[in-house]
Symmetry: C2
Subunit: 105 residues, 2 copies
């Protein structure tokens, strides 16, 4: 399974609306081909930054199928206006599966 | 559950030994108080960079219990020599639990 990690830095004060929009569009990821999970995380160590985590069956499900879909345009329209800088997005495969990440290997 | 994400950049050629050492020390995380999972990921988009993912029951299990333990010293001795730059480590809690990350919420 590929774990997409998107590093997001939001404009000051944009957190609440960003999360409201994201919650309303979870269905976009549920119906995306090969998408197995979606979660957004925050940290007290860096307020205003978030990590969007998305599980994909294959890299192509993200980079070709999703990015080429109409839903991607909708998702971007709802989230990008809140970003203070361009997101940093990479796709991570397992190098060492220690333990405790069942379903994410 | 807290998801620690450690951003690691290795010295050229250090990947194989880094992963061998990490595999031999998975037990350190298995026995760490409050640790529920450990995994290392890599990406073709940035060779030489890795993400160490560690699941903790609480932030304190990571920042106090683990970092104050003898095992932390052992772990660092096995991994830090391979880093090309200081790791960037943060602890992420759930802001929006979409779907598919059961056990990581």
């Amino acid at each position: 399974m590929i774990l997409e990690i998107a590093e997001l830095t939001l404009m000051p004060g944009a957190e609440a609306e960003f999360l409201r929009n994201a919650a309303s569009e979870v269905e976009i990821f549920r119906r995306a081909k090969g998408c197995r999970g979606m979660q957004i995380r925050q940290t007290p160590e860096a307020p205003g930054t978030f990590r969007l985590l998305v599980l994909w069956e294959t890299l192509q499900n993200h980079t070709v199928d999703f990015r080429g879909s109409d839903d991607f345009t909708i998702w971007r329209a709802l989230t990008v206006p809140h970003y203070a800088e361009p997101p940093v997005i990479k796709n991570w495969s397992v190098a060492l599966d220690g333990f405790g990440f069942a379903g994410l290997d």
